[in-house]
Subunit: 241 residues, 2 copies
């Protein structure tokens, strides 16, 4: 939340005064045809009204009516490991921050500082994402929008999340599994193929494609820049007044 500083009220008063007194001088001149008196009236008006305007601004600053809470949204990036979720979500976050809306980035990696990842079974993954949903709820209660990127392979957990949060926008980052393997700089796919990871999405565990994604980004066809543009335009069109 923001408060308006005293200097803001004063400078607003000055810009308004230039606009308003010029108008007064013109009106008085039109009515009375005497420029000297019109200007004198203008000067007196300026002095008086700068003070009045300041008091008026500070008074209104205390009134809550007409200040509307911004409605938050949740951009939810889902897709195979190394499909490009984090890269695109990071770039979208940078773009959306330029709009000066309250915004938080949530990535499956960073979230472990906050919520320990208890395991990779279906049940554990679902429980983990429910906790992430609670975090998004807490942020949304305070008008904060979120850019979240999680593999989130199961329909049931994405559905549970959609029911928990407001203005949920599922962005499916679509990539061929061969493309993902090429993009994987950590050798995770190789390790999974070697049997080291028993629940690796795409190899030893299923990825259930979203059926109701608001946005589908086919990374085999679109560049990161193009993807970012599509996603930010969607957000601007639907959620930024």
């Amino acid at each position: 939340m923001f408060r308006e500083t005293n200097s803001r009220s004063i400078v607003k008063g000055i810009t308004w005064r230039v606009l308003a007194t010029t108008t007064t001088v013109i009106i008085v001149y039109v009515f009375f045809g005497r420029l000297d008196l019109a200007i004198a009236a203008g000067i007196l008006e300026s002095v008086l009204k700068v003070a009045l305007y300041w008091a008026h601004e500070r008074g209104w600053h205390k009134i809550r009516w007409g200040r509307e809470r911004i409605s938050p949204f949740n951009l939810w990036f889902t897709g195979l490991p190394s499909s490009g979720k984090t890269t695109i979500a990071d770039a979208v976050f940078v773009e959306l921050e330029k709009l000066h809306i309250p915004l938080e980035r949530i990535d499956s990696k960073d979230i472990r500082d906050l919520i320990p990842n208890i395991g990779y079974s279906r049940e554990e993954r679902n429980r983990h994402l429910k906790r992430v949903g609670h975090l998004i709820q807490t942020l949304q209660n305070n008008s904060i929008s979120t850019v979240a990127s999680f593999i989130s392979p199961y329909r049931e957990s994405r559905k549970a999340l959609r029911e928990m949060v407001h203005n949920n926008i599922v962005v499916y980052i679509k990539a061929d599994i061969e493309t993902c393997k090429k993009r994987d700089t950590h050798g995770n796919y190789d390790k999974a193929l070697a049997g080291e990871y028993p629940n690796f999405t795409g190899i030893s565990d299923v990825y259930e494609e979203p059926k109701h994604a608001e946005i589908i980004i086919d990374t085999d066809l679109l560049s990161v820049e193009e993807a970012v543009k599509i996603i930010t335009n969607y957000v601007k069109k639907h959620y930024i007044k």
Copy 2:
């Protein structure tokens, strides 16, 4: 965050106009001594300037300068089990909400939806509170203040938390262990004394009294209402402009 609605700008314009045009009419009358022309000038001014004022308001609404982020605080209630932390923190939260600052209540019980409590050993408690600290950081990054109540028995975890968050206010809810036992409606103390809980603070585990608490509430001497007053006054004095 809030946005200002169009109606707010319009109504502000009207209240300002009444104030401003009355001044103009008086000035013109003083200069020219003709009430009829003074009023005519006032009417013309009103019509023109209501529109100008509206445009001026909407223009300024787009300007961020002079809008200051509210600096968030963290009220951290610590004390023995059943000392009265939750009761007092709940009442403080209700009082502070009346100030219309962005505020979130965090209690050791409710937090489990978000952060699973992994255990009660010293190491596990410290890790848990560090996660709570991350949550408070995330909220503070978005100007949200917090009212948190956790037994938090160890100095090291309270110290770690103080280093993580801004404007930390430790409120030590002091109560004699006999008083706590009487207040305990769940029979937890009895179970702990019977050896059922191996890490129960005050019985089978230590509570390290805070040495640097900003506020100490001796619940044997103060009523809940008195405690709430002391705490909210502290917050108002230091953190509410």
